[in-house]
Assembly symmetry: C2
């Protein structure tokens, strides 16, 4: 492995903290991912990307910066990558999947804040996220109360912060607001880059992102097979890497993996044994390295066949229509595509439970595990009606509420094992 010490120092990372984080992350990756049997050969690329997530990928981003590209960091699938690419910029998801510097974090945020928010504060305060440090602009969005209010403090910590407002419902005024915010974001990127975005630019951005989403969707459908050709952990990893990697290369490598999975499915070769109980996981997003609950589920002998999550199908379904004749028409198409995202911050959000049902059916799942981050009010509130509606349809549901700590591992395992026993 190359020595990135100089690059990390230049970025202003705290090397001691960062070494500790990488050691921890590497250990978790080894024990969770590398101990899996029957992994498709194509996972080699994604293992490599993970091993170089703080190394080679950051070096690439810095080379892009030297060539004049701006790096746009974000926390949410509502920040439209099509527009980022159209502006000649690169989109990256920011670190928010592990506890770090929690003692410092609780000096500026309430203890009763969800792990995801505490996490990105910790990564920033601890100076351990190279994606955050390399970003030219960090985009926050008014989705949940937690993020919306935490950003007031966060933007004092990161000077290059940009806040995007969000609608709370899918009424026409909500759509108008999202359109307004996407146009303002586009204008902000134009101002940063000094470059006017053309219709062709946005069409190219849309094409890249559509291709990435098509590959992710191809992967999703392949998991309908029994035996499942890929573990849920590996599929989640791919969905996580979708936020970090160069999109065109990612698409190419994912399609190559899918070619391999096509063969495995035809030959009835599984990464997980045939007839393993099949689970859809639904709820809050799981950012790298938040693999805790999926690891528990698959250790219990089940296979996760779909993620109804922003890092998963909720964030990736629906292509953007690229047929409009004008730039404004294309922006409208981008808004159309994002306005369909059934995030729990919207009210009502009935489409979401319909999508969960659809995924359960399409991927031949035996049950749904609802993953709620403690203190995430939108998803935890919604989990009550999701459970009620699914169980009315005869779909078994287990509602979990957890955080990023390892303290509840025993309790989680017991509950998940009991659930897997019920659905098998």
């Amino acid at each position: 492995m190359a020595d990135y010490t100089k690059m990390w120092t230049d970025l202003g990372l705290n090397l001691d903290n960062h070494d500790a984080l990488l050691a921890n992350l590497g250990g978790a990756y080894q024990s969770i991912f590398m101990t899996q049997e029957n992994r498709p050969a194509g996972m080699g690329y994604f293992d490599f990307v993970m091993s170089e997530a703080h190394g080679l990928r950051i070096q690439e981003l810095r080379e892009e910066q030297e060539a004049g590209r701006k790096i746009i960091g974000s926390f949410c699938v509502f920040v439209p990558e099509e527009i980022v690419l159209a502006a000649g910029c690169t989109s990256v998801g920011l670190c928010s999947g592990a506890d770090f510097a929690q003692e410092e974090v609780e000096k500026v945020l309430p203890r009763n804040t969800c792990s995801l928010i505490k996490s990105f504060f910790g990564f920033s305060l601890g100076k351990v996220c190279p994606y955050m440090e390399v970003s030219d602009l960090i985009v926050g969005e008014n989705t949940c109360d937690g993020k919306k209010k935490a950003f007031e403090t966060f933007k004092e910590m990161v000077p290059n912060f940009y806040q995007m407002d969000m609608p709370q419902n899918k009424a026409p005024m909500g759509r108008k607001l999202l359109t307004h915010e996407y146009k303002a974001f586009l204008a902000k990127l134009e101002e940063m880059t000094g470059k006017k975005i053309s219709k062709k630019d946005l069409q190219e951005g849309i094409a890249i992102v559509n291709a990435k989403r098509a590959a992710l969707s191809r992967l999703a459908i392949l998991r309908a097979a029994d035996p499942c050709p890929i573990s849920g952990l590996d599929a989640l990893l791919i969905n996580q890497i979708a936020f970090l990697d160069n999109p065109a290369r990612f698409t190419e490598k994912l399609n190559a993996l899918c070619d391999e999975l096509d063969v495995l499915v035809k030959e009835k070769k599984g990464a997980i044994a045939e007839k393993a109980p099949r689970v859809i996981i639904s709820g809050c997003p799981m950012a790298i390295p938040n693999w805790k609950v999926p690891a528990v589920i698959e250790a219990a002998g089940a296979v996760i066949v779909g993620e109804e999550s922003c890092i998963g199908e909720r964030g990736q379904r629906n292509a953007t229509d690229d047929s409009a004749e004008t730039l404004d028409g294309l922006i409208d198409a981008v808004v159309d595509r994002y306005f369909k995202i059934d995030c729990a911050v919207f009210t009502p959000n009935q489409e979401r439970v319909e999508h969960i049902k659809e995924m359960t059916k399409n991927y031949n799942a035996d049950g749904v595990i609802h993953y709620g981050l403690q203190f995430c009010q939108p998803y935890i509130m919604e989990s009550f009606s999701v459970e009620k509606t699914l169980e009315k349809d005869g779909i078994s549901v287990l509602r979990l509420e957890t955080d990023y700590s390892q303290e509840d591992m025993g309790q989680l395992s017991t509950r998940v094992e009991a659930f897997v026993e019920i659905i098998k």
Copy 2:
């Protein structure tokens, strides 16, 4: 006391539950309010209103209904009473200040939900809130995530539910949204009443509400005196009753009380001893019968000289301009007035801390106690920056986080007593 059993039965109240609630409430009122010394004579009226809050006042509302008026129940100061009155309707605040039927509530809501939301679910599930049962329309608003998402379940419990969307910031698009929502609300009331609202109707509604707010503001200013002519508990009670009572009568009685207070101030007669440590309470609203923290504060020998709260100055400051020539102009003036409310759901919300500073100065306060309901993310998140900003200005702050239970009374008393000791 008259026998209201028939009325309560007609309203569908659960009489056993309701008796238990009234006994509890009556006991709390006696021990908290009636044991206070040197109360102004004018408090007699408000004591009477409280004693008849579930009796005579409900009978009046039913008589209004029989005469054709609609009763509009709400949970938030963003539901504009001016428009309700203009439509020939009556506005009432709904019960949300005490725990009730919590075991039932936790079957439909997460345990980690703020007490205020759990409370109105409990009052509804337990069938103990006559205001809820008498309302022709119950208006919820998309302020915080907690309410926004809880309303999805609540509206299945109450068929006459109406939801109002809310902006998340004070940008022009936010103002457009609020205008749109107020116009939609006005149209909804017109549809319910079958009556077109005229410019004159709205002017009359504005006049009634402005007079009420002017009286509340008169009361607020009188509390600047030392000794304070009225306890914080009594002043809070008056602010709470402002949401239940007939507005014109309330205004008259409050002005009469203020006349009495004028004399007391001149004569340097206090409800609380001179030189008592003076406190501003700031944060989450306190609905009847949520008197827990104010009772602890005044039992510790301090006097509360202002409530920076929706049930208090935040909800009541600013008159609505009635000078517009058209109905649309008046609606705009209503929007202008409400758009100034510095609720923590907005981001940024810098005005709020400025208002706290202003109140501290205007009412000669020695310190600020920030009252956060546990799991209320907007106010608890904001309390960190409020504390930081105020302490930078040399204003002492105590941040409390509590719920409606009595379990933390000991701990609260200890902390409040220590704070009072510091500021005196």
